[in-house]
Symmetry: C2
């Protein structure tokens, strides 16, 4: 999927919502545990109820790996279901990978080619040759961790290098890499003012924004400082949506939470 | 496994060799491709031929993920084979994971508890709360990326923060984390002089050292600057050993390469 197609979907659905599919068997409704594949059954119900309200889904691969083979099978079925039933939806393998060149190439192939995700999240610590193998895939996207939304983000990401914070150096350096037009960035909503500086460095790149709501960020401020001419924002919510209820009505409850966010987003899209 | 037990194994075997099990179906002997599980068949043959010459095995998970479900199955069988047949051998899931707290916990559980690896490699970019969940596992080890051996290491890892290189800041900061006694570090052998500075910061921690041989590092220099009173070194070789031959004699050829390295290591262990 191209970024232009993604922006078109955002305008059409009046939503830049990404729903995180972080499935924890301890948190899903008990009645699903008797299904042959409870993880996929849960994802399918969530997708069926929310696909018209969001433009992206983001399974965090940790939750699938934690269940070993059956987890990977559920991940395969989920991405296949999305690609067949909703090819217009942008898919993100939240895998936070990063390894030396030939090994990064294996990861890139696994997520972008074999599983056919539209994008994968990648950590920047190992530098250019660990990221460029992901960037080679045409109309696929590499979402580089820049400023994350957790407390530990302040351990290294905001340290000063070359008179600027490390995460800004990551933005600047990564712009020079081959096929950098395929880069997007993870930028947490912890401090919305940061988005102004970030937009000075990368005016148009899409930002995947966790931490709106649950971790304290504010949607209005994120849009004020972060929205670009092509929208350029995907705001993620995981637990707030998928675990809105753990009873029989879980899918409808998830849809309601997603719709609340979608309506707020529609308001913002009118403004800019 | 405790670090003391690891040091005992090193002294006993006169080896601090770690063999990387990075299985690529395009590189293994053709005759194995008719086996039911060619990846495991290859690993089993390599392990059977080399286990007396090394103290650790390190499957890089990318190579297994790249083959989807059958890859994960082969990884499970490999670690189970190692744990049953050679419980004295230290096992490393080279996964380079790193995510926010609750997600890191899922990864930690997957690798250290479910798959029963002794250790897992973790990226530091997301800071303390992304690493501490791994450190909670008793007698398990978290191998933090500090200075990697690829060209991209110089993009961010060696940038100056607080008047020192970022990777040194990673060493210093991580020492303050809870259960930091369970930390080991990846330090590439690109420049052996770096080891002297590193030992000033972490005198005793085990270092997993890639890049000896193939990527230009020198075993003598690594030992001169990097060996600690408990040895504190695991030197990794992957392709140089496991792909020494792609014919019927591949396992014996691998054992020969491993023995060459083991003999060099025995020489070094006498010196210090």
């Amino acid at each position: 999927m191209t970024t232009q197609q993604l922006t078109e979907q955002i305008r059409k659905k009046k939503s830049f919502l990404c729903i995180g599919l972080d499935v924890d068997l301890n948190k899903i409704p008990k009645h699903l545990l008797t299904e042959e594949d409870p993880i996929f059954a849960f994802n399918k119900a969530i997708i069926d109820a929310t696909h018209h309200l969001c433009v992206a889904y983001k399974p965090n691969t940790a939750f699938y790996e934690a269940y070993g083979l059956k987890g990977w099978k559920a991940l395969e079925k989920t991405i296949m279901y999305l690609n067949v039933k909703h090819p217009e939806i942008f898919t993100i393998a939240d895998a936070k990978r990063g390894d030396i060149g030939n090994t990064s190439r294996m990861y890139a192939k696994a997520f972008l080619e074999d599983l056919e995700f539209d994008s994968v999240t990648v950590a920047p610590y190992m530098g250019k040759d660990s990221v460029e193998p992901f960037l080679e895939f045409k109309n696929k996207h590499t979402i580089l961790l820049a400023l994350t939304s957790n407390a530990g983000a302040f351990d290294f990401q905001t340290l000063s290098v070359n008179q600027k914070e490390l995460y800004k150096q990551v933005l600047e350096t990564s712009k020079t890499w081959e096929n950098s037009e395929n880069l997007m960035y993870v930028v947490g909503a912890t401090k919305a003012e940061y988005f102004a500086d970030i937009r000075n460095i990368i005016p148009e790149a899409f930002l995947l924004v966790p931490g709106v709501g649950a971790q304290g960020g504010n949607l209005q401020d994120v849009c004020k400082y972060g929205m670009s001419s092509n929208v350029g924002l995907l705001v993620n919510s995981s637990r707030g949506i998928i675990y809105a209820s753990n009873r029989g009505d879980f899918a409808q409850a998830a849809a309601q939470k997603a719709e609340d966010l979608q309506k707020d987003m529609a308001q913002e899209l009118i403004k800019y």
